[in-house]
Symmetry: C2
Subunit: 135 residues, 2 copies
Amino acid sequence: MDTSQPEHLKNAGLKSTLPRLKILGLFENGQERHMSAEDVYKQLLSTGDDVGLATVYRVLTQFQQAGLLLRHNFEGGKSVFELNEGKHHDHIVCLQCGHVQEFYDSAIESRQKKVAAELGFDIHEHSLHIYADCT
Amino acid sequence: MDTSQPEHLKNAGLKSTLPRLKILGLFENGQERHMSAEDVYKQLLSTGDDVGLATVYRVLTQFQQAGLLLRHNFEGGKSVFELNEGKHHDHIVCLQCGHVQEFYDSAIESRQKKVAAELGFDIHEHSLHIYADCT
DNA sequence: ACGCGAACGATAATCGTTCTCATTTGCAAC
DNA sequence: GTTGCAAATGAGAACGATTATCGTTCGCGT
């Protein structure tokens, strides 16, 4: 199991460039787990690493396609990304503040499969979002 | 229980205007249950009722605020609306074609409440979306 | 029928995101 | 270590969905 970022990029078939290393670093070492493109962009600006917004969008999409990141389109219009660590989980999102909480519930998981199958849906690569209000 | 559209509007505190009647009619009598603003706009155009796109957006938002319609922001970027008939249900959305299927599963419903409560979320006015692929 | 505030339609503006294209960079071959 | 070239970048234009603006029109009580 390697932990160096350039290796992560190479493994994903991506050339190791400065913007990509910085963005991956944010997800692997940063404090926020769920970030939008805007969040990433501002984080980089605040640390003096100026990466173009277009590049942020491009890189996030590439990382998602390479399986390094997961993309979620929660309500609120903007996509948020998180590191893909291979452990499936679902999300509760606060409709007020946008706060995202991960959870895993095997009962929901199995009912969900059952319901989807009954309705003719293929549940592979699914995601489940619960919207509520945090307190 | 009244079924006339002008009454529905009056009950919601909305003046009875032509665009509003036509849009409400689409949801109450139309064949599509889940429609985006664009869908509504095109439907109206196709029947010769030309209503401005801005008006469609305004009216849909008013109907939602008045409780006549429910708005969902499924993945795919655009909001879809459906008639609010007071019966709670959740949605499975196909990530390929956008097809929306309603369902209700009491086991999921109760686990969902439990999970949310444990994580400090207030589940009032929640919604749950499952994304999958239809076949 | 009259008048007035609410609602409308066209269009401009906004927001998140993607595209375009000229410039720069990573990196493999010399 | 320089060179070359495709790939990646950055600035800004373009885009699709939605909202705001503003002058005109309409619903409806008088």
